[in-house]
Amino acid sequence: MSQAAAPSAPYMGQRPSKPRRGRPTAAAVVVLAAITVWAGLGVGVDLAAIGRNWQNAVVNTTQLLQPDYAFFPKTIPALLETLNMAVIATFIGSLLSVPLAFLASRATNPNAPLLGAVRFGMNLIRSVPDILYAAILVAVVGVGALSGIMALVLFNVGIIVKLVSEALDAEDLGAQEAALAAGATWTGANRSAMLPQILPSLASQVLYTFEINIRASTVIGLVGAGGLGILIDNVRSFFRYHELSLIILEILVMVLVLEALSSALRKRLV
């Protein structure tokens, strides 16, 4: 009490003393700078090369700004294939993800060993980049859309399960507890009390995954997994930049339109 009363007069005009955390921040900056220098040396950062060769970029960019629209009809099958792959992969991926998401959330899976196993498996699946799946699956099931779809499905399951199980973790557990108290099984309680709560966020994640799939399905074609990627690979090996430019433009339009649509939908949902 007396302590609180004493400092009043001399402290009035004074600022509260600043919490000191200068040293850790400085240390972090030094460490980060060191890592950057080390990485820069490893990568061979060569800003001079940009200065030397910027004309190439200008030439390319001007070529890229003149898409060859006559090429459009030839891209339609690949474009459709990309869309098909994205739709099918999103569909199968979400079907697989829903039960897995319930198994991967603490809130809905009381079985600790199973929870750990599912989470570990999901981490494993997520740590492999989609294009590596595609490269391997192309070797296993052959060139074409099937390997691409399978690669995307694996990739999607990783994303959706993570996001939805996190949503489940944060959900209100009252209804589930009530169901359990009334004698429901865990499956029943999860189905009737938890599933309805996460449906909006599930739908929003599925839309988000669809957006990602459109983008990814153009890329995984580079290794032969179908879609626009195969076309990109063809035209780039022959340096036909006007055609490449049209393909990029198509991806751009497709992604932007879908992003606008799905973000409008997601706003309604959540």
């Binding site: 080390w38 490893g42 061979g44 090369a49 098909n84 981490n123 391997i136 099937l146 973790d169």
Partner: protein, 295 residues
Amino acid sequence: MSVETATSKPAPAAPPGPGRLHQRPARPAHWGRKALWLLVSLIVVAAFWSVKIKWSALADFGPQLVKYLGLMFGPPDWSKFGEAFSAVVLSVQMAWIGTVLGILISFPLSFLAARGLAPRAVNWPLRVLFAVIRAVPEVVIAILILSVTGLTPFTGALALAVGSVGTLGKWGYESFEGVDPGPKEAVRSTGGGTLALIRWGIWPSAAPEVLSFWLYRFEINVRASAILGLIGAGGIGKMLTDNVQFRNWDAVGMLLLVVIVVTMIIDQLSGAVRNRLVNGSWRPPRSRGRNRPRR
């Protein structure tokens, strides 16, 4: 008072018929929702119907997968581990440089793209630029940059940097716009200019989130750097595709293990730092699910 009114009024709006009382209310029709479901189902069916796939190939997928997994992991070929390790280090370095360059470029731009910090005429072009970059896959960006710097890891890093600008720029301006208006008003009311506003009104609230976005983008770049190897930008991706092409499955198995382990370690580290930045603790916040009595 309330009790009186409640008791004084006889049952509200006398029931139209005795039968109605035990009846459930009619379900809302939700025509819009039904139409949407129908549309989505149609799209899915159309996709399955129009895609040209030999579904019969799925029949022997199981045995094939087992065969290839056996070739890859039974046992993996560790003889090239040294080479793989330096390749994966190069990939991580590529990701790091890409992230750093991306941050350096996107950081000022995202302030200019934030509403209220720069005129609308500056906001919109930048936002469109970010959206366009986000729409183009990193591999395509790399193909474009190839002609300038050649097929080097630096090209890969540059492609990642450009790709990062798209996402970091967007996340940046969104979080600058989302900060609590209180400190901003305080700075304005004491006569602070735009720089003071950014430094004292916005940055302190936005910093944890923005820093955590940077780390998150680094995680993404680590994955993407493996992809860039496909077009020859070097690193683990190049080694992987080379070995897949020559069907050295046991080496592919080893490389996959290396990629998975390194990615997981980086994710864990970066996730811990992100938690520290955002929640003040190295571990993820305990979710409410944990606190419930366990059976």
